[in-house]
Amino acid sequence: MSKYSQLIKDVGPQKFNRGGMLWMGFLILLIVAGVIAYIDQLIEGQVVTNMRDYVLWGVYISNFVFFVATSFVGAIAVAVLRLTKSEWRRPFVRLAEIVALACIVMAGITIIIDMARPDRMLNLFVHARLQSPITWDVIIIPTFMVVSILLLYFPLLPDLAILRDHYNGTNTRLSKIYGFFALKWQWTQKQLKLQKKSVQLLALMIIPLGLILESIDAYLFSTTYRVGWDSSNFAPYFISGAMVAGLGALVSVVYIVRKNKQLEAYITEYHFDKMGKLFNLACIIYLYFNINEYLIPLFTAKKGESEHLENLLRGDFAILFWTVTIIGLVLPAILLIFKRFRKPKPMFYIAVVVVICSWWKRYLIVTPTLLHPYLPIQGVPESWSHYFPSLHEWVITSATLAMALMIITLLVRYVPVMSIDQLAKDQEASVKSDNKAAA
């Protein structure tokens, strides 16, 4: 039995149990329904959606913004915590990389879904105007995606080699697959040096790229003159919102993985407590930006802006707005101050609520503004001045969320959720230290 066997058994790949199979079946069902709806949308055109002259960016763009926001967790949990050498980050890092990758991939796919003519996608590059934030988005998303893949892949190399060796003789096919991705990793000094240098470089790259990604996402809105979007506060507001959504998603995923793989010994209440404090800080910062975004303009808002705010605070969107703000932000910010709510289970529930509210928050950022155009839209039915996604939009959007969850599920299934190599080193160091103390 190698020194890695127990660690592989604990944090390494595990076959799906019955619940896992059911979960995968459910996700596949949603994805198939979404693919059928999308094919229908391609054939019939976007008339199958409820997007019309007023709301041209509907639930697809809200969903895209949500995915972009959630992918920011890669930058926070991986890079910031790595660069600040926070040791408690370790159980979260791999899962954060997985969540970030799944979300940025789905952000890219979601924006294609929003295109009425995806066959003309090449025009985005051929006729790109570098002055347009849309072009910046087209550039930053693939860049962030590649960096996220590399950030997941480089630290994974030793683990893939461990799995290659582990399955050698027992499961040749798996051994070959892990061996292919392990790139002949043999823990040579040169390989270790190259890997360390690359991971450090990636950790440095992902922070500015993450900030640029979130800022560009905000500029898509704030470079217009639309009420509710024309705000210099928008980029930091988006970044802080992304921290909340990303950490919420991470806490949810970590809790489920911990419970299913029985990793209580690896991911302890101490880790959750530390993550809870970071989560709390993120919520408080986001709350501060929300006050800047919604409360302060009440003093100076001109007619259009004040109508928009009125609509949010007391109008058609009031119930959703206050639910998202109070249940999805204020309450978590207060509860997470207390240690008892930073324990795994309560924090999981808080995180799930935060993630759901974060999704609806993006809906509130996109839709109400579009219902208040500056120029009158004439000669259209009155029903176009209201928006609620059509069945096609819901089915397709659900499928994109299912795809993100499926990417996470498959990666958790086949990739160690924590660095086996690092855990083994920690254990060795701990044994040495104990021996030294005993001597």
């Binding site: 105007r129 570098l130 002055q131 960096v147 790139l183 040579t188 390989q191 470089l201 790259m205």
Partner: protein, 288 residues
């Protein structure tokens, strides 16, 4: 006998009431809204004629416009109608028929033209029609200069009678983007010779100093709307301050500001340069 007569009367009353009730019910079921149709005639000198139509109705004490109504347009001579074509009203209940000139229609022996539009009716609206009568007017306009001042002179005549039209309300205006700029006095009327003279202010801006002048009679009982147009190079030339060829944030892709080109290029080549470096590291790891 009296009883029998009384019975017959009663039966007749019952049958009568039943028939009346039935006819009322049928009448109510088939009751259609009344369409209001209006027609306005406009002639542009040396240009086309327009017949503008508007379909509307008053339903539940509210005025509404009627879209998608098919209207048959015709001209009438001595009680006989001659079709000119069909038009369909837009979302605002409006439709317009354009004729190349007066040659497309014929007047009666007195020189009176009649243009009309008719709606055949549908499930919601009953049939409706409207017509407009007019005589052919000739409106000529010219630019004259007196004592270094510029004037528009115009004359209005009845074409068939070849006589000047006096006391017709007329206005002189300059075509602008949203709304014409009227330069004549409010109630300017033609004199006995059918003429008017209006001074053109010297400070009206125009592209290359050109002003699109319009002399117009509107809603005249006998002649409808008639408009004469002429270009007058007497305005103040507009100094164009176009940024079309400059590198601006709103310019086309070939006119991207240099700082954006520089920073975007730096970010793209910087990050992708590092990505290729990292991929090369992977290659080196595999080869080691």
């Amino acid at each position: 006998m009296r009883n029998r007569v009384a019975n017959i009367r009663d039966i007749a009353k019952i049958i009568g009431c039943t028939l009346l009730a039935l006819s009322l019910q049928t009448g109510l079921a088939q009751k259609k809204e009344r369409m209001r149709l209006s027609t306005v005639y406009t002639k542009v000198m040396d240009g086309p004629l327009y017949l503008d139509m508007q379909a509307s109705a008053r339903v539940d004490k509210t005025n509404i416009t009627i879209p998608d109504a098919e209207l048959a347009v015709y001209y009438e001579v001595d009680g006989e109608e001659f079709p000119l074509g069909t038009v369909v009203t837009d979302a605002g209940g409006k439709a317009q028929l354009t004729l190349k000139g007066m040659d497309a229609i014929t007047p009666d022996s007195t020189g009176l033209y009649i243009l009309g539009a008719a709606f055949a009716g549908n499930d919601t609206f009953g049939s409706a029609s409207s017509s407009v009568e007019f005589r052919d007017a000739v409106l000529t306009a010219s630019l004259v200069q007196k004592d270094s001042l510029n004037y528009i002179e115009a004359t209005l005549k009845d074409k068939v009678l070849d006589s000047a039209i006096a006391d017709a309300l007329i206005k002189v205006q300059v075509d602008r983007m949203f709304k014409p700029l009227i330069i004549s006095e409010e109630f300017l009327m033609t004199d006995e010779s059918g003429g008017i003279t209006v001074a053109i202010p010297g400070d009206i801006p125009g592209k290359d100093g050109n002003l699109a002048m319009e002399v117009v009679i509107e809603e005249n009982d006998s002649y409808g709307n008639v408009k004469a147009m002429l270009d007058a190079p007497v305005g103040t030339p507009i100094v164009q301050s176009s940024t079309y060829d400059q590198r601006t944030l709103w310019g086309r892709s070939s006119r991207t500001p240099l700082f954006i080109l520089f920073f975007t290029g730096l970010l793209v080549f910087g990050s992708w340069g590092l990505i290729f470096y990292l991929l090369f590291n992977l290659y080196k790891i595999a080869k080691n």
